[in-house]
């Protein structure tokens, strides 16, 4: 780390190149958006007039409150789902743990907007469940009415963030913590209130603030459910219908970014200085106890109920994709493969575009991720922490904001050979995806690099390998697992990204899969093929997630047993590599 600063040329050039990339494609566009929000549209002078206009317009007031309401309620509902699940797994001995782990992954492999339409058909006013309820009991429940629909879809999709973080926090509590409290006289609720709860709290808050952020920024779900009076859809609609000179889109962007930063700050505060991984060698986790029969039945009932909820978008989507007509009925009238035929005939371009874009974006991400991790952790270049900070900052920038920023910034730059503005060239979609997914890849690469002990590099240098040879022969091979996991995560999440791409798609032939699903779902006739395309998306993401889990598992197996040569593993608090998490 503290190596002599000789022959630093290569690394410096690399750092400058990365900085330029981040500057041009992240800092400048976002800065532009913020700047325009504070600019008088006529005179160009700095002003707060746009914000005053915003808060004086009743539609925007309503959208603002709706966004906060939906995000908060989603956090609440997601907590109601996640808390019992994490409690069951960490507290009791029973076989449902595998089911719960599955529950933690299944929702994440489908972007929320894909399942939204299917959820309408299952839970909507005339959906299967309400038809049955009405027939049997004579009443209906407005699951999907208005904002309820967004809340339901989002919380079913994002509760794993709470589940993963809270379970990790609970698992990290050493049994000795609990036993020593008991030894000193605490038990029952006092034990829970004074020991278990405070130790698990940071994990919960981190997960909950992440859910808030994701829901607040989500564009696809409200759009698909035709809910326009929320912030992200408003930003999108203003820009696409009125034009990129309308200041309201920028004002909304600033509000979105502010709330994102706020959520991240809360999560950071929760975890700061609270590395509660108190587990000693040998026994970890809280005391587990066996369940009595009736308790077991209760647990399984809760789990199965949640599992049904969580799987409903998948099941609904599958039925939609195979059904002929599905309207005012519990099940589709008949089943057919026609939608798949149609989809492959019409949407082949979407799929190949997606594979190309997500593949390129993920490649850019792991190259940048590896380079940034190396510069930050292995060189003494001045300001290196900023590189990490800015790259990670992309987490706080919602897709809509990136979209608006790119449109505004790059519309004037003509790409020479193709002779188009950069903002409407397909490559800009790839760059947007790369920037948005960079934090995931960077986290994976950083974790991988931190597991490579500096001594392994020094040993190579001692035996005659230069810095670059050492990187090639020791560092990168040892990081392979992490890099691969980062690639797959970036790829999977990029392939179903909607919010930035929807604004940057200029011609249909350049559009990726997520955009295709959105287009199909706009018409009743398109729902079948749209659902079929959705199934393709689920398969791509599911397969990628599976591969990434296998890769992580395998590298971890390789690592354990190598004993002394590997530095201890740092716990990753926010489950970045745990699965896909489309914004």
């Amino acid at each position: 780390m503290n190596s002599f600063s000789r022959s630093n040329w290569g690394v410096s050039t690399l750092a400058i190149f990365i900085s330029l990339f981040l500057l041009v494609f992240l800092v400048v566009p976002v800065g532009k958006v913020i700047f325009v929000a504070f600019q008088d549209p006529q005179t160009g002078a700095l002003t707060l007039i746009n914000f005053i206009d915003f808060f004086n317009t009743s539609l925007f007031q309503e959208s603002f409150l709706n966004s906060i309401y939906v995000s908060s309620m989603s956090v609440l509902l997601a907590s109601i789902i996640a808390i019992p699940l994490s409690y069951f797994t960490t507290r009791f001995n029973f076989g449902g743990a595998v089911l719960i782990q599955t529950l933690g992954i299944v929702p994440l492999i489908m972007p929320p907007f894909v399942g939204a339409v299917a959820m309408l058909l299952l839970f909507g006013e005339n959906g299967s469940v309400n038809l049955l309820l009405d027939e049997w009991f004579g009443f209906t429940i407005p699951f999907m009415e208005g904002l309820n629909g967004v809340i339901l879809v989002e919380s079913i999709h994002y509760f794993p963030f709470i589940l993963i973080n809270l379970s990790a926090a609970l698992l990290n509590i050493d049994r000795a913590m609990e036993e020593s409290a008991q030894n000193l006289g605490a038990s029952g609720t006092r034990l829970f209130r004074r020991i278990v709860f405070p130790l698990a709290m940071p994990g919960y808050v981190a997960g909950a603030s992440l859910v808030f952020l994701k829901v607040f920024d989500d564009l696809g779900t409200p759009l698909l459910l035709n809910i326009n009076n929320m912030l992200a859809p408003q930003a999108y609609l203003r820009i696409t219908s009125i034009g990129i000179s309308d200041p309201m889109g920028y004002v909304i962007s600033v509000i979105l970014v502010t709330f994102s930063l706020f959520s991240l700050w809360v999560s950071f505060l929760a975890l700061k200085g609270k590395d509660y991984s108190t587990v000693q060698k040998g026994g970890g986790g809280l005391m587990k106890r066996d369940l009595r029969t009736w308790e077991k039945i209760g647990c399984y009932a809760v789990i199965i109920l949640i599992l049904l909820m969580v799987l409903s978008p998948h099941v609904g989507l599958a039925m939609l994709s195979f059904g002929t007509v599905w309207s005012y009925s519990v099940l589709p009238d008949a089943f057919t493969l026609a939608h798949y035929e149609n989809m492959f005939r019409m949407a082949g371009q979407y799929i190949s575009n997606t594979l190309l874009y997500a593949g390129l974006a993920a490649t850019i991400d792991v190259i940048l991720g590896t380079a940034i991790a190396y510069v930050v952790w292995r060189t003494g270049i001045r300001g290196r922490k900023w590189l990490d900070f800015i790259a990670m900052g992309a987490v706080a920038v919602p897709g809509v904001v990136i979209g608006i920023g790119y449109l505004r910034t790059f519309v004037e730059y003509n790409v020479p050979i193709v002779d188009k503005p950069l903002a409407s060239w397909w490559v800009i979609i790839v760059i947007a995806l790369a920037i948005r997914r960079l934090p995931y890849a960077l986290r994976a690469c950083t974790a991988a690099l931190q597991q490579v002990s500096v001594m392994l590099e020094e040993a190579a240098e001692n035996l005659g390998a230069t810095k670059s040879r050492t990187v090639r022969r020791v560092v990168v091979p040892l990081m392979t697992g992490g890099i691969l996991a980062g690639f797959v995560t970036s790829f999977a999440t990029a392939s179903v990204e909607l919010s930035a791409t929807i604004m940057l798609v200029n011609v249909e032939s350049d559009a990726p899969l997520a955009y295709g699903i959105y287009e199909f779902m706009q018409s009743a006739a398109g729902r079948g093929p749209g659902a079929a395309l959705g199934i393709v998306a689920v398969l791509i993401v599911g397969l990628a997630t599976y591969i990434s889990h296998r890769v992580i598992e395998r590298t971890e197996m390789q690592r354990t047993g190598t004993g002394a040569v590997i530095a201890e593993q740092t716990p990753v608090a926010i489950g970045t590599t745990t699965g896909a998490a489309p914004l």
């Binding site: 002599f4 020094e458 001692n462 035996l463 020791v474």
Partner: protein
């Protein structure tokens, strides 16, 4: 028997200083290590011994002063051009390479033809007795075997100097003694200038031709193990190597005279085994002084009994050899202590 041989060279360190940010870790080190010598840096943790070793290998912040290997000034050279072999405390074997690939690495970096690499790797593995393990991964080896691979990987490049950074600290006690002997044997066979870093005085004493004792970034004393033990230059060395009675101020003898009164700014040192514990009144030899005290504490250590005896305001450690059936003093007993004045050292600080 071995073809791995190199011309032994000296290592010269001139006025070396080094800081981590504001913290000065080495403060003006001067040292010459003779060709073929087994030399040890001994000191407590934080003394700078590892930093000094790493500076010789080219790791860590750029130091002030000069480091010469043979006649070459290597101070400015990057690690990969120095050709000094270092064995790391944690061995630092690359987990993604087999034992053979690990050992071959340095030769590959030196663009040695493949055929020669194979031969030399086999040679080195044979030397450490691990030829049969060549195709294994480091994770499939025991700690001692990993240590041997690390050693083979280093000597195969025929380094001009061999650097060992606490290489034995991760091994269990029995293995440590075995490895210590093996390393020494190998070093003598290869006639390789070797620098060994340890905080364990026994390790240092049993292996080294000479030892440099470090504390707080300064060399306290350089000498052979016996010299350091018998003639410590200062309080730190006396205390760090073995057990010592360090007396500040006067000490009253049995006949009432006061010893060391004139040595106001000095510390008096003598070893626990240089005293002869006897029942009162006690007999003094021709050069002996006789002290009178009371047994405050007793530890039975097998081959000896260690007493804490209170003499005036001082508490002295006295080691009495134990032979089968020998009677021991009990706590509270009044005893006489004979001390040969030839064994008393006056330390200046």
């Amino acid at each position: 028997m071995s073809e791995i041989r190199s011309e032994a060279v000296s290592v010269t360190i001139e006025d070396l200083s080094l800081s981590f940010g504001p913290t000065e870790v080495l403060k003006g080190i001067n040292l010459t290590i003779e060709p073929g010598e087994f030399f040890t840096f001994l000191g407590p943790s934080g003394s700078g011994k590892s930093t000094l070793l790493r500076a010789i290998a080219g790791f860590g912040p750029m130091p002030g002063g000069r480091i010469l290997i043979g006649d070459d000034d290597v101070t400015q050279l990057p690690p990969w051009t120095r050709n000094v072999g270092m064995v790391f405390q944690s061995y630092a074997l690359w987990p993604h390479m087999t034992v053979r690939k690990n050992v071959a690495f340095g030769l590959e970096e030196r663009k040695i033809p493949n055929k020669d690499i194979r031969e030399r790797v086999n040679e080195a593995l044979k030397l450490v007795g691990l030829l049969d393990f060549a195709e294994r991964r480091p994770s499939q080896l025991s700690g001692g075997q990993q240590q041997r691979v690390a050693l083979a990987r280093t000597i195969v490049i025929e380094p001009r100097v061999l650097l060992l950074d606490e290489p034995l600290s991760n091994l269990d006690a029995n293995l440590r003694i075995q490895m210590r002997r093996d390393i020494l044997e190998l070093q003598q066979e290869l006639k390789l200038t070797t620098i060994f870093v340890t905080h364990d005085q026994e390790e240092a004493n049993t292996t080294s031709d000479r030892i440099a004792v470090l504390d707080q970034g300064i060399i306290q004393q350089v000498g052979s193990p016996i010299e350091l033990y018998d003639e410590p230059a200062n309080r730190f060395v006396a205390d760090f190597l073995g057990t010592a009675n360090l007396i500040d101020g006067p000490l009253e003898t049995a006949d009432g005279t006061s010893l060391f009164e004139s040595d106001k700014n000095h510390t008096t040192m003598f070893r626990p085994q240089d005293m002869d514990i006897q029942p009162l009144p006690g007999e003094a030899g021709p050069d002996d002084v006789l002290l009178k005290g009371r047994v405050a504490h007793r530890e039975f250590l097998g081959n000896l009994i260690r007493y804490n005896v209170t003499v005036g305001e001082h508490s002295l450690i006295v080691d009495d050899p134990h032979t089968t059936g020998r009677q021991a003093f009990a706590k509270g007993d009044e005893v006489a202590l004979g001390l040969d004045t030839k064994n008393i050292h006056i330390l200046t600080d």
